[in-house]
Amino acid sequence: MDSTQPPAAPPPAGEASGSEVKEERVWKAGGLEPMPIRKLPAAPPSMHIIGPTVFLLALGVGMGESYMWPRLVLVFGPEIRWLFLIGVSLQAVVMLEMARYAMATGESIFSGAARVFKPLMWFFFVTAIAVYIWPGHLSAGAGAFEDLTGIPWQVTATIGMILVGVLFTLARVIYDLLEKVLGVLIGLLVIGTAVAAAIVGSFADLGATLAGMFAFGYFPDQMMTAAWFPVVVGSIAFAGPSGMQQMWYTLHLRESGAGMGSHIPKVRGLAHSGEQEAAPHRGFMFDTDDPAEMEKWRGWRRWVTFDAIALFWGVTMLVTIAFTVMAMAAAQLQPGVVEIIENGERDAALPAMAAAFGQAGGSVMSGLFLGFISLIGLNATLGLFDSFARGQSDMTYSHIKSSRKFGISKLYGFFLWGVIAFGIVILNFGPADGPGAILDTLAFLSTFAMGAYCVTLLLVNNRMLPKPIRPGIVTNLVIGFAAVFYLGMLFYSVLVFGVSDMG
């Protein structure tokens, strides 16, 4: 292992000091403080039910699965779903690579980016604020709830934001609470979509949906138009987690105690900030020359692979198949639905799709559709606020020295209540999606961040990790392909069609 003996890093708060530290072995990665070598904990059994993937599912199983893909299936037929298969599979590989750095070091991918080139991390810091501070993402779920109950969506969204803030403030350990809540909500979502699809769909719909996943190469001419090309590209990019959601997953993985994350204390709610343990501002590395440590590492890789394939890939597929079956059932009973969906803007098309469901299968179908959109919105809200506050506080704490006196818990609380307060003001008095003049820029940034994190991943995992645990050539090729795909399609769409909004 390419680690060094002294000069050792200065001891961070709460760690051993004195002569012990002088002998400490470290792993030098980039220009930042080296990572001390520590023991890698033993990996749990690879088969498990609940893990940090619930956060990725809560964030990722959203508009793409419930609305964008069913819409594409209605317009182009179920054969289009092979592109979804590619999109989700690509995201599963990205997830595994995000996990590689986080589990090996206990650092977030943001810190990995800072080790490569600090401005790269600040780019993600600014992008997160620019893209995620606007509360527009709440509009779909709260809007669906308004359609269901008649309660104005601004009221639901405002109350929802305050409740989320209070919940996270009072929690002793935010991650533990959120994992439990999201675990139940995702479970209900999976059960609910299966039951809904059972009630409204048919064997033929399911058969066509499944067969469509393997219609590789199906690419109708209509897709290469200004109206549909950006939508198709956006749907592939947003199949599963989109924007910066994969980057935040590294924080949840660390918080769950996966790999070297076990050496980093968990973030406590603001009300319990007095109990917050001093957190190191850089991660740790394990001894990759030690075969026993490498064996444990392989155990962790098996654990996260199960997460990526069975939980993330599997649940995403299940939910989207169920929604597609519902959409196809609606279209068969009411052929006019295709026209409504085809012509509708996103905001207008959601109620249109619900109405179409209603016309096709009665008010039960409309209610089912809106109910699930509300549930998905609730999941996303819980996950998004936590992720945003977690990401921003991690970058601030780790890379702005003067902020450390506040502690990670207070910084988390600051960003959480900051985004909530801003959200409430904007929801009630301003443009929820952001100012109209910069909407295109925000949409561009969201997709651009995905290409950028693929490039970041390649740099971080191949330059900042010891050789024995770096990714293989195939993995690098897949991540490289993802970078070219996200960035290439985005620029192609902007340059050829002049459209940067992929939604």
Binding site: A43, P44, P45, S46, M47, I49, I50, L148, T149, K180, G183, V184, I186, G187, L188, L189, V190, I191, G192, T193, A194, V195, A196, A197, A198, I199, G201, S202, F203, A204, L206, P291, A292, E295, K296, R298, G299, G314, V315, L318, I321, A322, G358, G362, S363, V364, M365, S366, G367, L368, G371
Partner: protein, 187 residues
């Protein structure tokens, strides 16, 4: 301190609650959403009961299978097989009884085999969600009732020993893998 439950039905009934609750939630989903969507109260109630009841029985039955040791705790395979049969049956009962209520005579869905096959395929998704929630809820429930329900105590023991067994199995597998690697290195 609570009284120890000695009655067999009461003990089993209490034990079944997590699985039965998850099963019943499907009825709540169907009935609740039907109500919100504007169906008359009585029809929403019929959906709730006619789907919720068989699913609650099957859900509770699965917990009992875990207690008997027939289904391994935390394993997806047995749950998938169980719901492959149970889910289509519950759906056929649901369809038939709703029809009985609406038109006055029970009726099976058209193309019964396709209907059953379709629901059997979807049951995998349902089983996934079921086992996900079941494994999350049952240890909490068992710890809550173990003091007065000997069956719960026994099932909790099964869960604990299963977790230890999995861990030991993993350790053994890792040791074997290490030994194989060592041998290869020496060769």
């Amino acid at each position: 301190m609570s009284t120890v439950i000695t009655s067999r039905p009461a003990g089993l009934g209490e034990l079944m609650l997590p699985g039965a609750g998850i099963g019943a939630s499907t009825g709540l989903m169907a009935g609740g959403l039907a109500l919100v969507a504007g169906l008359p109260l009585h029809l929403a109630a019929v959906h709730l009961i006619m789907l919720g009841l068989p699913m609650a029985l099957f859900g509770g039955g699965y917990t009992l299978l875990c207690a008997r040791g027939t289904a391994k705790p935390g394993a997806f395979g047995p749950a998938a097989v169980y719901w492959l049969l149970a889910f289509p049956i519950a759906r056929i009962v649901h369809e038939a009884t709703v029809q009985l209520y609406v038109v006055g005579r029970p009726g099976l869905p058209e193309a019964l085999w396709a209907f059953a096959l379709y629901n059997a395929l979807l049951s995998t998704g349902f089983a996934f969600g079921f086992i996900w929630l079941h494994e999350k809820l049952i240890p909490l429930w068992l710890m809550r009732i173990r003091g007065h329900n000997p069956r719960a105590e026994a099932l909790l023991e099964v869960y604990t020993s299963y977790a230890s067994m999995i861990f030991e199995h993993q350790q053994q597998r890792d040791a074997l893998r290490r030994a194989r690697r060592e041998r290869r290195r020496k060769q």
